[in-house]
Symmetry: C2
Subunit: 205 residues, 2 copies
């Protein structure tokens, strides 16, 4: 994908790089809803004509598909951080996936927000939700592995705990401001601290 501002494609049509079109579309989809967003609104926001948009994509649906693929590919790539060796440290694997997921939510906050709000109204949305479920299953498998290895508290039901933890992480898209006081690393520290140790100090006895 061509992201260089001085690239030939960009030079000829300012603000009309395929990647820019997708990012503007995602932002409008999140603001107004997919149905209520028109290609004309996307063109207006970019300051170009509708035909300039159709130079890059054939339909509004192609923009939705590209945006969801962007979110899903970034989430799926977090699984590459996992150590699958026999002597793996299960808690370190959980920490890696949590930090990598927080990074994706911060860096790709608009595409991930779009993904998390999908209801599965069309074939395209259902396919994206299916890919999301595969990712969720892989992450749940990491929690289960850690639980099976005895690395987690024995009194917590691991499946519902996984849902709660990733509900916590996904909520970042609802309240986090990328230009606020908390950067992605500090947010990752906070999430790992809460998920592993909770709010209360460890009792000193």
């Amino acid at each position: 994908m061509n992201t260089n501002a001085n690239s030939p494609a960009r030079r000829g049509r300012p603000g009309n790089d395929r990647r820019d079109v997708i990012l503007v579309a995602v932002s409008l989809f999140n603001q107004h809803g997919y149905e209520a967003t028109s290609v004309g609104m996307i063109a207006d926001r970019l300051g170009v004509s509708k035909s300039a948009i159709y130079h890059h994509v054939s339909s509004k649906e192609e923009l939705l598909s590209a945006a969801l693929d962007r979110a899903l590919s970034a989430l799926e790539a977090t699984l590459d951080t996992i150590d699958h060796s026999a002597e793996r440290d299960h808690v370190a694997n959980l920490e890696r996936i949590i930090r990598a997921t927080v990074d994706v939510l911060v860096e790709e906050i608009e595409p991930v927000t779009l993904l998390l709000r999908l209801r599965g109204n069309t074939e395209l949305e259902r396919a994206a939700l299916g890919r999301r479920r595969e990712f969720d299953r892989a992450v749940a498998g990491l929690v289960r592995d850690a639980d099976d290895a005895g690395a987690l508290r024995a009194d917590l039901e691991p499946r519902a705990a996984t849902r709660l933890i990733f509900g916590m992480i996904n909520s970042i898209t609802e309240w986090y401001h990328p230009n606020g006081p908390l950067n992605a690393d500090s947010l990752g520290d906070l999430v790992v601290g809460l998920v592993f140790g909770g709010l209360l100090p460890r009792a000193v006895k």
Copy 2:
């Protein structure tokens, strides 16, 4: 509110109690979106005429308003569980608000889901979001009080931690099945366990 299936109001107009109308409307709003849901669809689901619906409410907007009020009133009532006395136990207060909120999310899952998905597109929605922010502020105050009293881990930023914890709790509306294996009390135990102690066993040294 009249909830008895054998009540006079219910006997005369089966399935057309005001409360039933609101609950069916909420369910359809969550399924199809508020805009895409018509009063005709609500009447069809209840097996009554549109005029039977208008016997109870004057507009679709009144149904939205009643549904949001139902969610907000239930959430606001959780604050009644809080001890404000000088000798209060801050951690016990947090546990009370967490358990009471989990109960509301389970018992009023459809109205709360509707509330949590609001984007503030209309005056009515913005008013509901304002009430929700007041509630969130009251809860954040409980976490801050506990933090000020030294009852929480010193290394966690309390404002972002509050967002994460209530992001975790609110996620219940996205995945919890009221007829599944986990009842509200067990879910409350799990949430309190995770929020206070995290996933990892306390080190025994």
